[in-house]
């Protein structure tokens, strides 16, 4: 979305705000608004570089760095010791992608076209991978909440690393699946690509610049979370599960909605579900590996995050099963999202 580009003005605004020691809630808003267009530019430059790299390596690059913003925000939040925010933002990204992004896509697409169709076979692969991935991800947490509540935390951290290794291995294997052994399954998607608007050199420079700025803005943003939540009375859980994912994914989300308006529901759904999958199989294990540098982070979600995750993924699987969507399905997804958000808001 071109209009998001104007938000780049919030980079200097947030930096100046930080220098002038403006109030924390203001800096929170400015840095958040700065991250939104940066994430979009990062995505576009990654896509351009992938285009030049071509074929499988390009596909691999695009798939892997598509969620770099979440990774960077997560890294700085982890560095600041905000483990609960990191975990909430992982859960929130998955929930937001499935309920909010897919809901909005189905709603706006469905208002324009009576019934929208998508390739059930491709979506089936992604949505059932998502079911397995979420179940794998949450088993240690469920275990912790039930059987093993008297165990030492060091053991959970060990279990988290095991899960991270398994998730990462499945990530690599899923790339092999989609770029080598079963690449014909995804053939229909190829038409989406158009010529990149930047040369390779320019794309690389833009990517590096965007990454640096996202890093800076993420550090500012993360620094404001604690004082801001205290000042305004919002909970850290709400920031983690609702706000961070919206900020990190805004650019991507607008693409999904735009594709729905062009009646390309396949692409919309692949963005929403594929992004969720990458959060679980790539971003989460990498954050756990990185956490070993500071202090080990276990991926023990709280009970409500668990349930919101498993419900979202059940809904995604239900939706995928009929190959069709309409505006009422969109409304219902958004309604579930609002109820989740309202629940976190009242804490």
């Amino acid at each position: 979305m071109k209009v998001l580009k104007y938000f780049l003005i919030f980079i200097p605004v947030s930096l100046i705000g930080e220098l002038l020691h403006l109030s924390q809630p203001m800096i929170f808003v400015f840095s958040a608004l700065a991250i939104i267009p940066l994430a979009g530019i990062m995505g576009e430059s990654t896509e351009a570089i992938s285009h030049y790299a071509g074929g499988r390596i390009g596909g691999f690059l695009n798939a892997t760095f598509g969620n770099a913003t979440e990774l960077i925000i997560g890294f700085f939040a982890m560095k600041a010791g905000l483990f609960d925010v990191v975990k909430a933002s992982i859960a929130g990204s998955v929930i937001g992608n499935i309920l909010l992004v897919l809901g909005l896509s189905m709603l706006v697409g469905g208002l324009k076209y009576k019934t929208q169709h998508f390739n059930q076979k491709v979506i089936d692969v992604t949505s059932s991978m998502l079911l397995f991935a979420v179940i794998g991800l949450i088993i240690p947490a469920i275990f912790t909440h039930t059987v093993a509540s008297k165990l030492l935390t060091t053991r959970y951290e060990g279990l988290s690393v095991v899960v991270a290794i398994i998730m990462f291995a499945i990530y690599i294997l899923s790339l092999i699946f989609s770029f080598y052994t079963h690449k014909d399954l995804y053939a229909t998607e190829a038409e989406e690509e158009s010529a990149p608007k930047w040369s390779l050199n320019k794309a690389i420079i833009i990517l590096v610049a965007a990454t640096i700025f996202i890093g800076i803005e993420s550090e500012i943003f993360v620094g404001t979370v604690e004082p801001m939540t205290k000042a305004i009375g919002l909970s850290e859980a709400f920031v983690g599960i609702i706000l961070v994912p919206i900020i990190g994914n805004a650019a991507e989300h607008s693409t999904a909605v735009m594709m729905a308006l062009k009646n390309k529901m396949n692409v919309s759904i692949e963005i929403a579900l594929g992004s969720s999958l990458q959060i679980i199989l790539f971003v989460t294990p990498v954050l756990i590996f990185l956490s070993l540098i500071f202090s080990p982070m276990s991926i023990v979600f709280n009970a409500f995050e668990l349930i919101a995750l498993i419900f979202s993924v059940l809904i995604a699987n239900r939706l995928a099963s009929d190959g069709e969507s309409n505006w009422l399905e969109g409304v219902q997804l958004i309604a579930v999202y609002i109820i989740v958000a309202a629940s976190f808001f009242i804490v």
Copy 2:
């Protein structure tokens, strides 16, 4: 079912019983038996009025007032402060419709016809709406049981009102969906209608009379719940989750089973699932709105109601996915229902 009409004798019987101060369990039984035929007559008169109203308004009337009995019983139970019975009866209506009504329909239909087929597309819409609705309904309860156990109850009541507003909005939107934007999807159902047996004036008088008598009998019925449960040793949970839904839905249930015997599984399933959906999207929010008059009722189900709800809805979605039914599926649904009932019975 014509035989139910003879149960009307229990209207005077229960009133006389109340005057003569008969034992509470006896009055409980008499008033329950009086409500059964009244609910049936109410449904028939609503249908007749809908027929005269015709087209969309008729469909709207029929859909909206189809569960008036549950609403009236719920209202008087709420007025008597029996919040747990109200909540249990909401959960019990959904569970009973899916497990007992659908189970009986599939069993008796399946004994007559080897395999019964239904329109998977229509059932798919209803069953996936049911999944979303149940998830939306139970999120606040799950939230309460997990994250937020130390919160003030006033906040839950606020959350309940938010959920009620969202549910009610989805109800209105779903009527727009089925009577305006996607009415062709439901076209095949139309053949069911036959000429009403009453004139419009007569139907209105009958409806008003039935509503008044249901009100009276509900108030008597509700008044006996507490003394009766103490006298007999049944739990209020059992009354709410098993008995109230059977009483309120008996007439409707017999229709579903009869349609299955005529090999019209589409109609049977739509009655069972559609009725569950109306309980969640219409009866529940209206009861919550009404509760604001007395003292606000939160829709925080207990953990077992939650799980029974989500399992029922998973089963409904599983059943809908293959477009076929047989007697063994019916037996299994009834078996799950019996296990749920037995669990509540032993408390």
Copy 3:
């Protein structure tokens, strides 16, 4: 698998070990290795006898005694008072069949054939029965963990018996379904049978001998569980949920994998899901009935077993819904299994 026959040597080895009072972990391993080929021989002789019995009675025999090994191990574990091991091994058999056996079958089959197809209709019946059965099985446990935690345990045992009776009734009804009323549904499977390698008399003698030896070895095996878990530091939960099911099902499992290698995924999946179903509908109720002889065993699974069960069954239903499998689905199933096993291992 012929190679398993050589394991018969562990019958004398374990018996001698027992006489010589070898260390408990060694006897544990020897008796486990002895049970593996015995279970295989038991299965083969049952199949041979079923072949001679022919038609429906044969099918019935084969279906009913296919899980005799689990029953015998369960019986001796129950006799030794190891109720937690029994319950864990019931849950573990279901989980192992769905995640490990199906996962391995899909993986090795998928490495040989790009996409493997199976008869969605037959698998649909089995997988939806499995969903109902698991839900029925776990409702009393969920009830116990939530609503009724202050109840007397005698009431749970009563509820367990009710559930056992219902499960057993459904088992009988499902045999009537598959051998009488809907036997044409399963017609395609028949081609699998080949001439038995033993005469009827020989098969009966072999069956009796195998049953006796399994009984002896099971008693030895069960006797080592407690001292061994203490010596090595493994938990009883891990032994029950992971080791016992692998030992009891190894022969059957190798058949499932072999069928996948022959691109007969129908048979592989039916072995995995059908075996899970028999554990729930036949082995579990029989064990509960038998427990009334010693001291009544309630089927209250712990929370993690419950969740692992319901997740496994959701995964099985998801897999069944598209009629296709590939190596990546196999990898994901195994990954979930490893995460479950790792969780129990760290306790």
